[in-house]
């Protein structure tokens, strides 16, 4: 009945990559086979739940337990898996995150050897087994991490992949650039200039909103410019995207207008990550349901959705 979906992991490393971004590597004894697009749900180990053997009347640990929820997150936090590999009988997985609040502040304070609770793998992965030879990954900001792992998976199945990576500024781009950092590049060519993507032989097109690195403008504009310069037959291409919702809506529209298959990796606030709390809803087309739409759970029925199913303009998006 019960599974091994919840494991205690040990922090291997947690270096800062660039402004506000970190890469957490966790080692786990038990972790099921996972695929790119799936996510993990992290929390401090539940000391207040496991230290039941201590019951001095002083209540010292109990008080500490509750205080913990003030300084640290109470609920788990969901992160796309950015990479995963076998290490002996164990598994190491990477999570790349940007510090934006209580949960990610807690993560950034973890040092090597710290423990944390890892629930996962959760959610549905990116579908990668189509017959289409070309795969373009379009990410904005901290939508980049799942694309790192996806690029490895795409390389393994022999796709010709390109990673389009956008950030607000150069120092918010969580990849290591090699060679000259040429600002104001056009978006007509993809190069092996980002070390993490180059590892899987994946060229990149970089854009920054302020033009401090790569193409000057948002990543949707870079995608449009590249597509214009290097036309790719719609029937030969799959687009994967992850990032801010407005950016994904742009990419979804771009693909829809051109008849290109597109998969989006969505983000929602979620409490449980497993379908119990019903909080992480995304409105999708469903002709069988009243009003021809219904909510789907980002945690179980996502986070990867077919872009044309998502009702981007619906008030039920409410972002």
């Amino acid at each position: 009945m019960s599974s091994n979906k919840i494991n205690v992991g040990r922090v291997v490393a947690n270096p800062q990559l660039c402004r506000e971004h970190y890469r957490l590597t966790v080692r786990l004894a038990g972790f099921a086979q996972a695929e790119a697009g799936q996510f993990v749900h992290l929390s401090p180990t539940a000391d207040m739940l496991t230290e039941y053997r201590e019951f001095s009347t002083s209540g010292s640990w109990d008080g500490a337990g509750w205080l913990r929820t003030v300084a640290n997150p109470m609920l788990r936090r969901a992160f796309s898996i950015a990479g995963m590999r076998a290490v002996g009988d164990d598994v190491e997985l990477d999570v790349i995150y940007r510090v934006v609040g209580k949960g990610t502040s807690w993560l950034s304070r973890l040092v090597s050897g710290s423990s944390l609770s890892v629930l996962g793998p959760l959610g549905l992965p990116f579908p990668i087994h189509s017959t289409k030879p070309h795969a373009w990954m379009v990410s904005g900001g901290v939508g980049l991490p799942p694309m790192l792992w996806l690029s490895e998976a795409l390389a393994k199945v022999g796709k010709k992949a390109i990673a389009f990576c956008g950030a607000q500024t150069a120092d918010l781009l969580a990849v290591t650039m090699s060679g000259e950092r040429s600002p104001r590049a056009d978006a007509a060519n993809a190069t092996l200039s980002a070390k993490e993507f180059a590892a899987s032989g994946t060229p990149v097109v970089i854009s920054t909103d302020d033009g401090s690195l790569g193409f000057s403008g948002h990543i949707g504009a870079a995608l449009t410019a590249y597509h214009k310069a290097q036309s790719c037959d719609a029937d030969d291409l799959v687009v994967y995207t992850c990032g801010p919702e407005r950016m994904m809506a742009f990419v979804a529209r771009f693909c829809f207008d051109r008849g290109i298959e597109c998969h989006v990796c969505m983000e929602r606030s979620m409490a449980c990550g497993t379908g119990m709390c019903q909080s992480c809803v995304v409105p999708v087309r469903d002709d069988d349901t009243d009003g021809a739409w219904r909510y789907r759970l980002c945690c179980r029925e996502g986070p990867v959705f077919s872009a044309e199913d998502v009702l981007w303009e619906s008030p039920a998006m409410a972002k």
Partner: protein, 315 residues
């Protein structure tokens, strides 16, 4: 160790909820583990005292737009909006799993009129595998826009009307904390014919985004749960027990911020016969098992043979 020492394994955790026998006093709280299958992936549900489902209404409901939850200090706000498949969908899609669950199942019921509550409860009373119905009275009546659960007169009328439709299953009324005097609504529920009271539902609250000046929840307000509300819940359980339920011999299911055996013991001492775990399940789905283990150890170390001997023993 003296001769009368009781081992943790020997401790009796069974409790009686108005005739419903539970193998232990730790249940799930409605809305925190769906209708079973999702939770069963993470925990053996036969280890529960009872399982309480998410709400069921007559018609299907899509629920509120996101954001539906936000974490607050030592708690969370939720405004899911009672999303569910409706009564027919529940009967067709959820009941088969419930039949196989191997633990007593209580179905949470919500309605926007007395008739809706009656329709759902009448149907559920006829489904053998459902041990009880729990009325969620913290929603507005479409007839007057007022919550059933905040006015003793309306609440008594509702419970009394539903009582006529429920003969086999236990009738549980979940009390709202958003009232001036919880003993008045507790008394009304008992007068209406409730077999069991559960307390408390979530506390109405709000969180605001200082960048956008908008509420964090799309519904603007939500229900606060988690450790933040435990003192409120304990006080209400105790007042209901002391002033109303004890003399009426009506058991209380205590809930609100419970995540450890220690929390559970506090609720028993305050007067609860059983407890329910809600928000903690989102973090650690096996919390009920851990609480039972802790209770066994606590009771055995105090030389107590039964959890029932803790109920209402607040000095």
């Amino acid at each position: 160790m003296n001769d009368s020492a009781i081992t943790a394994a020997e401790v009796d955790l069974t409790v009686d909820l108005a005739g419903l026998a539970l193998r232990n006093p730790v249940m799930t709280a409605s809305g925190t583990s769906g209708y079973g299958p999702e939770h069963a992936e993470l925990m053996d549900l036969t280890k529960l005292g009872a399982f309480v489902t998410k709400a069921v209404s007559v018609e299907p409901r899509k629920g509120n737009p996101p954001e539906r939850i936000v974490e607050t200090s030592a708690g969370m706000l939720n405004a899911i909006g009672l999303a569910n498949d409706g009564l027919d969908g529940f009967a067709a899609n959820k009941v088969p799993f419930i039949e196989s669950m191997g633990t007593p199942v209580i179905v949470n019921v919500v309605g926007h009129s007395v008739e809706e509550f009656q329709t759902v409860c009448r149907r559920l009373d006829g489904i053998e595998c459902i041990a009880g119905v729990e009325l969620n009275v913290s929603c507005p009546n479409v007839a007057d826009g007022l919550e059933f659960g905040t006015d003793p007169v309306r609440l008594r009328a509702l419970v009394s009307a539903v009582r006529g439709c429920v003969s086999r299953a236990k009738l549980i009324v979940k009390l709202s904390p958003n009232v001036t005097d919880v003993t008045a609504t507790a008394r009304a529920a008992i007068e209406g014919g409730a077999d069991v009271l559960s307390a408390i539902n979530t506390v109405v609250g709000m969180a605001i985004n200082v960048d956008t000046w908008k509420p964090m929840l799309a519904n603007r307000t939500g229900g606060l749960s988690g450790p933040a509300i435990k003192p409120i819940a304990l006080n209400m359980v105790h007042r209901v027990y002391r002033d109303v339920a004890k003399d009426a011999n009506v058991p209380i299911i205590g809930m609100g911020g419970i995540s450890s055996w220690r929390d559970a013991v506090e609720f028993f001492l305050a007067g609860a016969t059983a407890v329910a775990v809600g928000t903690a399940l989102f973090v650690e789905p096996t919390t009920p098992i851990r609480i039972c283990e802790g209770l066994r150890e606590y009771l055995s170390k105090r030389g107590m043979s039964s959890v029932r001997d803790l109920v209402g023993k607040l000095q």
